[in-house]
């Protein structure tokens, strides 16, 4: 048990260190289902934090306020970091706090703001197939819980001794045995960041011409007829629309930027730069 995990577990540590071995032998001697009824302190702490985590995750997927979903996701991910600490995986826990709570949720909040998510309750947050989704999730949960509990009924994690996931152990295994995947992963991360920047900067390919997002920013056009201007969409099938566009879509630009459109370009340009800067800052 690591010191950080002991700090989280608090007073449950003494009960845990005393009780694990007797509980292990008890479970080995009798049938293991009795082990659920005599939990140790770490197990009780794990259960309580797990309930908080699961409740936060449920609120995340069911709330109708979009920003609140991102904020409840912070609670769920932080609870998972505490669970990692209870499992003596310190380094993973701090990486979880840094990466998920620190950057991924901030990215999600930026995404919600940039896509003009409605503040307050949005009644169409769930689609029409939510009952089918609920049925699928419930069947999957029942099946997987049954399989997992039946498979690992008599299996116990020994949390004594040195921490299995201390920074030293993780670093030694990572840089002795996993160096080549680590380097490959850094190349993948670089490629992903460059790809995100390229995807975000595509509206700024021609700085003088306003892009299609100026038309999207008016908000008057719904999405499905809007897609007909798109060159990927079937604008050639409806041939009668040709004379209404004097310049036509330029074939070189993949987003169909129209140079003659007189609307302002300010919201599109600001949306184009912000994810790139955000990616670069991350």
């Amino acid at each position: 048990m690591s010191p950080a995990a002991a700090a989280v577990a608090g007073h449950a540590l003494t009960a845990h260190t005393v009780g694990t071995h007797t509980l292990t032998t008890h479970a080995a001697s009798s049938n293991g289902s009795h082990g659920f009824l005599s939990p140790t302190g770490v197990e009780i702490t794990f259960l309580l934090v797990g309930l908080v985590t699961l409740g936060a995750a449920l609120v995340t997927v069911t709330t109708r306020q979009l920003v609140h979903a991102a904020l409840w996701l912070v609670v769920a991910l932080g609870g998972l970091a505490v669970e990692y600490l209870l499992l003596t995986a310190e380094f993973i826990a701090w990486v979880q706090v840094l990466i998920y709570v620190g950057s991924v949720v901030v990215l999600l909040l930026f995404g919600l703001m940039l896509t003009r998510a409605p503040i307050g309750r949005s009644p169409d947050a769930d689609s029409g197939n939510r009952w089918a989704a609920l049925a699928v999730a419930a069947v999957a949960a029942v099946t997987l819980v049954w399989v997992v509990v039946d498979a690992f009924r008599t299996t116990w994690i020994d949390l004594d001794g040195p921490a299995a996931g201390s920074t030293q152990a993780t670093g030694e295994s990572l840089f002795q045995n996993w160096v080549l995947p680590f380097e490959g992963l850094s190349v993948l991360l670089l490629a992903a960041l460059v790809g995100a920047i390229v995807l975000s900067r595509k509206a700024k390919a021609e700085p003088g011409s306003p892009s299609v997002n100026s038309r999207a920013a008016t908000g008057s056009s719904p999405s499905v007829p809007d897609s007909r201007n798109h060159p990927i969409g079937r604008n050639e099938a409806s041939g009668g629309t040709k004379p209404e566009r004097p310049e036509g879509t330029e074939p070189g630009t993949p987003e169909g930027t129209k140079p003659g459109t007189p609307e302002g370009t300010e919201p599109g340009a600001s949306e184009g730069t912000t994810p790139a800067e955000q990616e670069g800052a991350r």
């Binding site: 770490v42 699961l54 995750a57 995340t60 997927v61 979009l66 996701l73 769920a76 991910l77 990692y84 380094f91 993973i92 990466i99 998920y100 991924v104 990215l107 999600l108 930026f110 896509t115 998510a117 169409d124 947050a125 769930d126 689609s127 939510r130 989704a133 699928v136 999730a137 999957a140 949960a141 997987l144 997992v148 509990v149 690992f152 299996t155 116990w156 299995a164 996931g165 295994s173 990572l174 992903a192 790809g195 995100a196 995807l199 595509k202 997002n213 999207a216 056009s221 007829p225 809007d226 007909r228 201007n229 099938a237 409806s238 629309t241 209404e244 599109g268 949306e271 184009g272 991350r282």
Partner: protein, 126 residues
């Protein structure tokens, strides 16, 4: 600690994320649910690595190394995913995945109201 505690918590978190992926309409909420599913897998990996590092001979700490890789790939995935969602929102004016049905079968948006589409186009180009 009994191994069933982290395994069952991981299963429940995964199914919560599965419900969110299937039931949500906003693309960013779908990405949040994907993050929940990835975190459930991470909890499973950490729990089994801690169990096997005592039970087995030499496991190379593969579970925790794979957890770090998964966290990194999830960060890359959320960056790319948000860039795609923002690009779709720029082009279509929405991030509602129920409306992005251009490649759906049995739902032909070209034949329902071509006059309305031309009116939209005239309004857009004017």
């Amino acid at each position: 600690m009994h191994l069933a505690y982290p395994a069952v918590l991981s299963v429940l978190l995964f199914c919560t994320g599965l419900y969110g992926v299937l039931a949500r309409r906003n693309a960013i909420l779908v990405l949040m649910s994907v993050e929940l599913m990835l975190n459930a897998v991470n909890l499973n990996l950490v729990a089994f690595d801690v169990w096997l590092s005592r039970a087995a001979e030499d496991t190379l700490h593969s579970g925790q190394a794979l957890t770090l890789f998964t966290i990194t790939i999830a960060a890359a995935e959320i960056g790319i995913g948000l860039a795609i969602v923002l690009a779709v929102h720029r082009n279509r004016g929405t991030s509602d995945i129920d409306r992005l049905r251009d490649t759906a079968e049995g739902h032909d948006p070209d034949h329902d109201s071509p006059a309305a589409g031309q009116a939209e186009k005239a309004e857009a180009t004017a």
